[in-house]
């Protein structure tokens, strides 16, 4: 098989009826993923299984490691070797990965971590849905960092948005978490894969100056440094220690200020370009639902049902969960008399919404602690209470 034929196989253009797990795997290949290091865990295992079959077909590599820690470490290594790389897991595995997600944040390493959420804490509900890792994707690793986390609501989005996840990871140089859940991961829906040339791919920017002039952690206006990879001749220097622009460890408050402020600010200051939400019938709403992932489907259903009854309710769906759309929610709090937040946890995003609505409106969470998704009727009940 020629190189061109292998490239064709990377994008399975056409109509498919597949699960979210298969869609995310195919999306990663379309984004250019060439290395997957993983460890099986329900309900994400189908991603690893699919990658094990597909990657060798397109001159990529799949390795099943001894645990999730090795898996995340391996994809960081592969990224520095120049491959777009991914791993996939669920809550217990994500917990094991967080230290190395921190390494990826500190060393500004592009890669994608898929978390197909199940109910927790601990082993929890291996085969059943949860949305309890939202805060962990924000705060999981120690230290300050600003993550990008994307949450799909459909099988189609599992494909489309994991490409965005790769693009963000390459553009802003950081590990991006793709936050799915068991329901999306395991349900089958129509997936339309476009032609390869229709898919927008972003690749990390590389230095072009001679090696002696290259400062690996000096950033320009976008605050994202150019990335040389191993073998480019730039003698890459990567460390999880606080470092200066040369990449050399520097254990001082001054170096820390500069280094850590920049890796946070590169996301904070670009967040308008990153944040993505869907607004549904919000224009005239006096009640707003805010939701993400699977829960947003039922939320949309409840909006439709309520509208038929003449209740003015709309939905703000978080497509990027992090960075958080504080400013939009602040505005929304001026507009509506109540914000209802269905989520499959005990109030994680609800607290963020309370924070960003500044007490200007009532915020009411509808919590399920995992194992089942909300029905539109359950959410409708809460809407009707507030009308």
């Amino acid at each position: 098989m020629s190189k061109e034929e292998a490239e064709l196989l990377e994008v399975m253009t056409g109509k498919h009826f597949v699960t979210g797990n298969i869609a995310v795997a195919e999306g990663s290949l379309a984004a250019g993923c060439k290395f997957f290091g993983g460890y099986p865990i329900t309900p994400s295992s189908e991603i690893a299984e699919h990658m094990a079959r597909r990657l060798p077909q397109i001159n990529g590599h799949f390795v099943q490691f001894e645990d999730e820690i090795a898996s995340i470490a391996s994809i960081l290594g592969a990224s520095w070797g120049g491959s777009k790389s991914m791993t996939a897991t669920s809550g217990p595995g994500y917990s094991l990965m967080v230290e190395n997600i921190g390494l990826g944040m500190m060393t500004e390493t592009p890669c994608v971590i898929v978390n197909v959420q199940r109910g927790g804490p601990s082993t929890g509900l291996p085969t059943l849905v949860g949305q309890q890792d939202v805060m962990q994707t924000k705060w999981g690793s120690h230290g300050d960092y600003e993550p990008i986390v994307i949450s799909p609501s459909t099988v189609q989005e599992s494909f489309d948005l994991v490409i965005s996840a790769f693009n963000f990871s390459e553009q802003y140089r950081l590990p991006v978490t793709f936050l799915m859940d068991e329901t999306i991961g395991h349900m089958s829906e129509k997936l339309v894969i476009p032609a390869k040339e229709k898919i927008k791919i972003v690749n990390r920017k590389k230095p072009t100056v001679p090696p002696e002039e290259y400062l690996p952690y000096k950033a320009g206006k976008d605050l994202v440094p150019l990335m040389a990879i191993a073998g480019d001749g730039y003698r890459v220097m990567m460390t999880g220690l606080t470092h200066d622009e040369r990449g050399y460890p520097e254990i001082s408050a001054e170096a820390q200020e500069k280094n850590v402020r920049r890796i946070n600010d590169k996301i904070r200051k670009n967040k308008k370009k990153i944040i993505k939400t869907e607004e549904y019938k919000l224009d005239d709403a006096d009640i707003a639902l805010i939701s993400f992932g699977t829960s947003a489907r039922a939320a949309k259903g409840s909006v439709n049902r309520a509208r038929k009854k003449g209740i003015k309710v709309g939905l703000l769906r978080l497509i990027t969960v992090w960075p958080f759309p504080d400013e939009r929610i602040d505005l929304l709090a001026d507009q509506v008399k109540k914000i209802i937040v269905p989520e499959i946890n005990y109030g994680q995003i609800t607290r963020e919404i309370e924070r960003s609505s500044h007490g200007k409106t009532e915020v009411k969470g509808i919590f399920k602690l995992g194992g089942a998704i909300h029905t539109p009727e359950e959410i409708l009940k809460e809407i009707e209470k507030g009308k």
Binding site: L9, R54, F65, G77
Partner: protein, 288 residues
């Protein structure tokens, strides 16, 4: 008696210029620590092995030995505690021509990172692992570790270490390493030759170097100076190439068996397997 003429050379160049990172020296290692000289030996070996410097990557975990990667002017990666090996495997897979060398300490590689070590040996990953064994956690202040021998005193073993230590060459051998050797920090010539062999080998090669750590190990164990540790090595070392690795465990005051223990040919490596999988994957497509 012929008097040997010694000529002093004055030069602004150092033999390792270009292989150590500018501005990173002086290093942080303690007086009497062997890591400086071991670094020299590693660079000498990389050069003697004829490796293309562009295709050499060094990966470390955390700890004193883990700092070596940062002084070397190759592609160098200082990762998290215990995770150098899987990082190195991912890095290596992206280019089969790349030589990836993991340099780390006994605590990093065999306590927190032990699981990765045994699996990397099992899958015959194409990496060379150099472990500088200083018998304790040096950087964190001298705690007992997985290679501390019974009766060794450390800050968290104030009454003496009581647990059986790992026999590192035997662990590597039993897990499938294709090259296994042990040297002391004193054996610089043999260590270099051995490292050249290890680096030239495909698959998982492992070299243990018994280091000298006067500050946090020696002081508590009647070996308070680097020189004393090296003298102890000189007096207690036995060279036994091909020794049965089951017999090379380290005990207090016991002999230190060094040598090349394992050198196997022909075992397929992880890279071999992965390239074969690509062939099978492509074949499955043409069948479809």
């Amino acid at each position: 008696m012929v008097e040997e003429k010694i000529e002093l050379i004055e030069s602004h160049e150092h033999p390792l210029d270009g292989y150590l990172r500018k501005g990173r020296i002086p290093h942080i290692f303690c007086p009497g620590c062997s890591l400086g000289s071991i670094t020299t030996v590693i660079v000498d070996a990389i050069l003697a092995a004829g490796l293309d410097p562009k295709k050499v990557a060094v990966v470390s975990g955390i700890g004193c030995t883990g700092r070596i990667s940062g002084y070397l002017n190759f592609d160098s990666f200082h990762t998290t505690h215990g995770r150098a090996i899987p990082f190195a495997i991912g890095l290596g897979i992206t280019d089969p021509e790349r030589k990836v060398i993991v340099i780390s300490g006994d605590g990093d590689l065999f306590a927190i990172g032990g699981n990765h070590f045994i699996h990397a040996a099992r899958r015959n990953a194409d990496i060379t692992v150099i472990c500088v064994n200083n018998f304790n956690y040096g950087m964190t202040g001298g705690q007992v570790g997985p290679t501390s021998y019974i009766g060794q005193f450390q800050t968290t073993a104030p009454y003496g270490a009581v647990e059986e230590p790992f026999n590192l060459p035997d662990l590597a051998t039993s897990c499938g390493a294709v090259y296994v050797a042990r040297w002391t920090a004193l054996d610089v010539r043999r260590m270099k030759d051995s490292l050249v062999e290890a680096l030239s080998k495909k698959g998982f090669s492992f070299v243990e170097v018994l280091g000298s750590c006067p500050t946090t190990y020696g002081r508590r164990n009647q070996l308070a100076e680097g020189k004393m540790i090296l003298e102890f090595y000189k007096d207690h070392t036995e060279l036994q190439h091909g020794a049965d690795t089951r017999e090379v465990g380290i005990e207090k005051d016991g002999p230190l068996i060094v040598g090349k223990f394992v050198d196997i040919e022909g075992r397929p490596t992880l890279t071999d397997h992965l390239l074969d999988l690509q062939k099978r994957g492509r074949a499955s497509v043409s069948k479809e």
